[in-house]
């Protein structure tokens, strides 16, 4: 049970203290100093969870904590720590009395006890949890060094530094700065020419105009989307079980476009959560709802639908909470939240917003699990329009031609003849057109005089031991079956080697129509039914016998069309000849010569290929037919039946058929993407007892937790209303959580470090006033993302040098106080993209389907399910190898290994903050991955062709490509020495040089000396492996 949930160690608080983040003033602040201790140590039994509450005491509510308890004592007596039972209990010498109980494994430090005492003596002021109180724009704090400030952000940063007795670092040099901001805003390093241009610009606006240029670059949208896709848990596969491909990449394009167009963040939010519910929702707004659909899904056989569906709803609710509320609601799936004021019932009220989703529990293992949106491009639209016009034109030709025909009914004799059933031969000497011949062994055509032949030149022969057959499928045109038709075939059994059984099988889309003669040894179908119909003993051997069977008895109703026929036997030698159907139905290329005869035929058919209006018209007595009836009958007859006019109309029908197929193909090629939709009548929602799908408790309606402001007036009670609630300016969390994540993007650490948790267990913000100021600024600017980012990157705080002294590092290893500029290893995608970019290989193209670049063999196969369409990895060629990494195909059960090595997430669930590790596997990727070796080869080419003539110039150029700066003399010295060494090696080992230069698919046409090129390749490889090359400094 959940009684043991809160296994909290006091790590959090201790770490804040050791960081020196709590200011050492006298005033004890509840939210900063007391709440974390309570949350970690006390709330499990004395907090929001009613079921777990002990002694009636809750320490999260002032009135209860300061009131009389069941025991008669009072936990907190404001102003009097000595009289407060809380202090008595946490300091009790009796281990049975002392809180927290030893069984919890927790204990309070002397400092924590002291904080409690001081807090009570100072009056024991409670505060609601800080992040649930709407932010107000704070006053800018006063600072001593007013000259340092470039914008208001700096006032908050500097005030804190001054309070801590710290000084900011001097500004970073211009080269470092241009690389830092270019990497941050575009995900790619600056090229030497861009660096030179910035260095040459002495104007005071140089940096600001650089920032403006970067914010306008389409690369900006790609870089920003990358972070968002981690939150959205974007993937190219379903993520569970078969893990088949899913179409979601149009949503990725949408996110890129939204950032590039600087879509206000409130709209960005509403469209993703509820774009489908907006009035007159546009296609774009529906695509945006892919955000909700990105959760992993399954179609595993044996699953119980409701169990799976509930998981999807829970995931969508939790993801919304993490992304927009910065809250972890997972706890409340099973019970009231122990730390945050969200009851289980309130969780299911939020859950109710998602509970009417229209997508099925089983994704069907298809790429386009409904609901989906078709997303045609302008080209697609034009193509469809052109085809529609051509089809309309062809139809018009038919109309015109019909108007010109004059029909005269012939003499009645012909019509009578046409109505008699006739034998239509389908197989004689050859199979019908388009048939694909198959069998246990190939078809054997034999002729006279060695073999019996019934008619024509040839018969087919089959000699079998056991079961054997020859057959065809795919015959076109097919054999049309009408009322009362009989199928026939001629057979000759070898008297010396007769079979046990012979069978005819017919395919009208399925092989479920069989007739047999002789013993019942062929086990297919169900005996006695149309799928295995007995027609008596074997025919007499040694002579040709006509076999005949009524189509209706084999379940072949009028209107059926055969495309396949099988001759099957068990043992023996059997010859087959002429086969077909006895029918009144005109087969392909045949027609009626008389309208009267055709009408008579058509009337006799219980089913027909004629359209219903024509059938209805025919069934009206001729005298009572309207003009409309007459026209329908006449037109259809002339167009489709009358032998004389068919040569006019057949080619037009053929043309329409071809155009229609082209249209269908063009339509099928149009991208689709998963979107959100609700079922027509909303599902009822119940609290699920302990989260179990099959244990519904109280019924709940959609709503928001009581700790937050209510839904805006007039907001609908659906996802749209929920989204509007999130972006209401009065909401305490959405803006804070969002600006905090942007801050984290640039500084490597959020103002609230736990950017996914702003609840009671999350960390206290390092700069609470700055967070509130940024949140208000963001909302009041109209949720303007580019404006906010510009503010951040133009601050003096961001522009500091990232150098660190040992003293500062020891005091603030995470740079929580921002006493220096940010310095951290770049994300997986940036590392790879930078190598492709500096080598000149990067293919820049925004959006599109995901691509499959280099990947070691066997990654997918090692885990893949045999039936999965992502089991076999097939590397693509050309451009696909060099696209930005955000377009790499993300198979969620086996994500791209070279990106995983650099902490890219699997995208199975929402990630607000990636890990940032430093491992030997990263070294191996950069040293040896085909992608990076190939990039080294091309970077070497650039060094040789663009860098200058001397090794020193070329090495300097290569170094600049990767780091933007020129190497120091000592560094150039190292590069020169290693180069000389490598050159000597490859000059002596030309075959080794040739091998190295053949790594990767691309060819280099320029005439380069192989030994030299190989040596520069190794140097490029060295440069790409530099710590600095993979680090934003």
């Amino acid at each position: 049970m959940c009684a043991r949930l809160g296994l909290c160690a006091g790590i959090l608080f201790a770490s804040i203290l050791s960081l020196g983040l709590v200011r050492a003033d006298d005033r004890v602040v509840f939210n900063r100093d007391i709440r974390p201790i309570l949350s970690d140590n006390c709330y499990k039994c004395h907090g929001p969870d009613e079921k777990e509450r002990q002694a009636g005491l809750r320490l999260d509510v002032q009135g209860v904590a300061t009131g009389k308890l069941e025991s008669g004592s009072t936990a907190v007596v404001p102003g009097k720590s000595a009289e407060s039972a809380l202090v008595a209990r946490i300091t009790s010498p009796d281990p049975d009395q002392r809180m927290p109980p030893t069984t919890t494994g927790k204990h309070l430090t002397a400092r924590q006890i002291d904080l409690f005492r001081r807090w009570i003596d100072q009056g024991a002021a409670w505060q609601g949890h800080w992040s649930f109180i709407a932010p107000k724009r704070p006053e800018l704090p006063a600072v001593k060094d007013a000259a340092w400030e470039r914008n208001p952000i700096d006032r908050f940063i500097l005030a804190r530094l001054e309070a801590e007795g710290l000084k900011p670092m001097p500004p970073a040099d211009k080269v470092t700065l241009v690389r830092r901001v270019t990497s941050d805003l575009t995900g790619l390093p600056p090229m030497p020419a861009e660096v030179d241009a910035f260095l040459a610009d002495d104007s005071p606006e140089a940096y600001e105009s650089l920032v403006d240029r970067l914010l306008r670059s389409p690369r900006y949208g790609e870089q920003m989307a990358r972070y968002w896709l981690d939150l959205a848990r974007y993937g190219d596969t379903h993520g569970l079980h078969l893990d088949n491909e899913r179409y979601m990449w149009k949503y990725r394009e949408w996110v890129i476009g939204a950032f590039n167009n600087n879509k206000p963040f409130d709209q960005f939010t509403v469209e993703q959560l509820a774009g489908d519910l907006l009035p007159n929702a546009t296609l774009d707004q529906r695509i945006a709802t892919g955000f909700v659909r990105c959760n992993v899904s399954t179609s595993e056989g044996g699953s119980i639908d409701e169990e799976v569906r509930v998981r999807y709803v829970v995931d969508r609710t939790e993801t919304m909470a993490t992304v927009f509320l910065g809250l972890t609601l997972g706890c409340a799936v099973c019970h009231d939240h122990k730390f945050d004021p969200v009851t289980q019932k309130e969780f299911y009220s939020l859950y109710a917003f998602y509970n009417s989703a229209a997508d099925p529990a089983m994704d069907g293992n298809i790429a386009a699990t409904p609901p989906v949106a078709r997303v045609p491009s302008a080209d697609d639209e034009a193509k469809l329009k052109a085809l529609d016009e051509q089809i309309a034109a062809a139809r018009q030709k038919i109309v015109d031609a019909l108007a010109k025909v004059e029909y005269t009914e012939p003499e009645p004799t012909a019509s009578v003849a046409a109505a008699e059933p006739k034998e239509h031969v389908w197989i004689d000497d050859a199979a019908p057109p388009s048939a694909q011949l198959q069998g246990n062994s190939p078809w054997e055509f034999v002729g006279k005089p060695e073999h019996p032949v019934f008619c024509g030149e040839k018969a087919t022969r089959r000699q079998a031991q056991g079961l054997s057959q020859h057959f065809f499928t795919g015959a076109a045109p097919g054999l049309k079956i009408g009322e009362g038709d009989k199928l026939f075939a001629y057979v000759y059994l070898d008297p010396k080697n007769p079979p046990k059984e012979i069978m005819l099988q017919f395919n009208d889309g399925a092989w479920e129509h069989r007739a047999y003669w002789g013993e019942d040894v062929i086990p297919w179908g169900n005996g006695g039914s149309p799928s295995r119909l007995p027609l008596g003993a074997l025919p007499k051997a040694g002579e040709w016998v006509r076999l005949e069977v009524e189509a209706a008895k084999l379940g072949l109703a009028p209107g059926a069309v055969l495309n396949g026929w099988a001759f099957t036997q068990h043992d023996g030698t059997v010859y087959w000849d002429k086969a077909g159907v006895v029918t009144r139905t005109p087969q392909d290329g045949q027609g009626f010569e008389s309208l009267v005869a055709w009408e008579a035929y058509e009337k006799a058919q219980t089913k027909s290929t004629a359209p219903q209006n024509v059938r209805d018209a025919i069934n009206v007595e001729p005298a009572k037919r309207s003009d409309e009836h007459k026209k329908a009958i006449r037109d259809y007859f002339l167009e489709r039946v009358y032998a004389t006019t068919r040569p006019v109309f057949d080619p037009l029908h053929k043309e329409i058929e071809t155009l229609t197929k082209q249209r269908a193909d063009a339509d099928a090629a149009i991208p689709v993407t998963l979107v959100m939709g609700d079922v027509p009548s909303p599902r009822e929602t119940f609290v699920l007892i302990r989260g179990a799908y099959d244990k519904p408790g109280d019924k709940v309606t959609a709503g928001v937790p009581a700790a937050f402001p209510p839904l805006p007036k007039d907001a609908p009670l659906n996802r749209l209303g929920m989204a509007q609630w999130l972006v209401d300016p009065s909401h305490p969390l959405t803006a804070r959580v969002t600006v905090n994540r942007f801050w984290q993007q640039f500084f490597g650490r959020g103002i609230v470090k736990t950017s996914e948790d702003f609840g009671a267990q999350g960390q206290w913000p390092t700069h609470p006033e700055l967070l509130d100021w940024l949140a208000r600024e963001f909302v009041e600017s109209g949720w303007n993302v580019k404006r906010l980012l510009k503010l951040i990157v133009t601050s003096a705080a961001y522009r500091q040098s990232s150098r660190v002294t040992p003293e500062l590092f020891e005091r603030d290893p995470e740079n929580a106080l921002v006493a220096r500029g940010p310095r951290f290893r770049m994300d997986a995608e940036m590392v790879r993209d930078a190598a492709l970019f500096t080598s000149g290989l990067l293919v820049e193209k925004i959006g599109g389907k995901s691509v499959k670049p280099y990947q070691p063999a066997g990654i997918w196969e090692a885990v893949g399910f045999v039936g999965s369409n992502t089991r076999d990895f097939k590397r693509e060629d050309g451009e696909s190898l060099y696209r930005r990494s955000m377009y790499t195909f993300w198979k969620r059960t086996a994500p791209p290994p070279s990106l995983m090595a650099f902490d890219a997430p699997s995208r199975e669930n929402c990630v607000a903050r990636r890990a940032r590790t430093n491992t030997p596997l990263q070294a191996l990727v950069l040293m040896n991955d085909e992608q990076y070796v190939e990039a080294s080869r091309h970077m070497a080419r650039r060094m040789m062709l663009e860098g200058g003539s001397s090794p020193a110039q070329r090495l300097t150029y290569g170094f600049r490509l990767a780091t933007a700066r020129r190497p120091e003399p000592m560094e150039l010295d190292v590069l020169n020495k290693v180069f000389a060494d490598q050159l000597a090696h490859y000059q002596g080992h030309k075959e080794e040089a040739a091998k190295l230069l053949s790594v990767g698919e691309s060819k280099i046409a320029d005439p380069l000396d192989p030994a030299e090129h190989a040596a520069y390749t190794m140097l490029a490889n060295l440069i790409l492996n530099l710590d600095e090359a993979v680090t934003k400094e």
Partner: protein, 489 residues
Amino acid sequence: MDPRQEHALLETRRYFFGRCAAGVGTAALASVLDPRLLAGEAPSAAGAKPQGVLPGFHHAPKAKRVIWLFMADAPSQLDLFDYKPNLADHFDKDLPETVRMGQRITTMTSGQKRLPVAPSLFKFQQHGQNGAWLSELLPNLATVVDDIAIVKSVHTEAINHDPAITYIQTGSQIPGRPSMGAWISYGLGSPNKDLPAFVVLHSRIASGSQTQALFSRLWGSGFLPTRHQGVALRSQGDPVLYLSNPPGVDADTRRRMLDGLAALNQQRLQTQGDPEIAARIAQYEMAFRMQTSVPELIDISQEPKEVLDLYGPEVTQPGTFAYNCLLARRLAERGVPFTQVFLRGWDHHGNLPGNIRQLAPVADIASAGLIKDLKQRGMLDDTLVIWGGEFGRTVYSQGTLTKDNYGRDHHPRNFTMWMAGGGIQGGIVYGETDDFSYNIVRDPVHIHDLNATILHCLGVDHEKLTYRFQGRDFRLTDIYGNVVKGLLT
């Protein structure tokens, strides 16, 4: 180097393979040359320090390392371990409702008109001193039955592969939590600096096997730092991804490139002062050492014939289960704390007798061989071996039941695993099921209990190995799990 920087470098960073920094390299190198040096020096008493984040063992560990032979897709307990002689009388009779008691079953068989009882076709015999019953499919395991504890009462809640295998591996049916190996890497680290703490080995399967997918999350690190995720040793291409130098680059050329790299990174460390640079220098040295230590690990040419024979004839073919079992022993010798060998193909919904006849011998000889090999080296005492999958299979037949053929659907309510060595009593049978192997009648062992017991053997209290994520302290066993005392020595 600035002594303060050096201090920061040694004290503030914890690296991929436990604690390591520039200067520790030589000690680590020794472990390549003589793996036993490190395997033997791991602490053996409570109070000795683990190499991971745990400041100390919670109690004296009995096992220094774990080898889990994971039988993915769920082998049939009814045809291997859980002998039910009375079932013969129930052939083709309906499973009594008094046994099923309305329990949910998968939608693969819930639509069947009948649930006909299918007794095992295989003969069972008693073996060893305690007379444990084993099927004729496991003749080799029969010879080590006194060394293993057969647990017949393992159970889970999940009834489908994906959630079930995710559950037993990570403690949750929903993706996102760290796997057991990642927890062990995080908590205990590894005494070997040149090999990962958590190694995964995939066994080749016969084409046409009835098998399910695996997922990288099964050895993933979830929300733990990614350095704790399992590293798959591969039988095709590089044994560790990207291990080999590209064509045209030999070890010497690489070494000299790396010397230049180290010199430049060192200079940058001087000017920038960020200890992360020192960490990266160390990682490159480790990567270079791995280029030697991993090929040495997988080179089995020096293994004597009598050792190879223990694992069966396929042992010399890379990627076979036998080969992987031998590698697991070699990893254990080198101190690697957690190795998981996956053998897939037990998903015998149909034609079970024919399929299990193919697969069981593959599993039998190498598993028994591993026990014998560890024992003869004196390593079984401190190596915990586990054998089993994600759930069991039903007593009733899925699809048509005939005299000589049947299939079995998923059965989470009880299944059999065995454990050996590392603090587990040998020669016992733990837990009991009813006459239909449908319900547990004695000593249930939930998969959380199993995982708690495994951690216990390693000297870890499963309630105290936690990681705070999203405001909550998570652990492998979620909020459940009791150590199964009856299994311990």
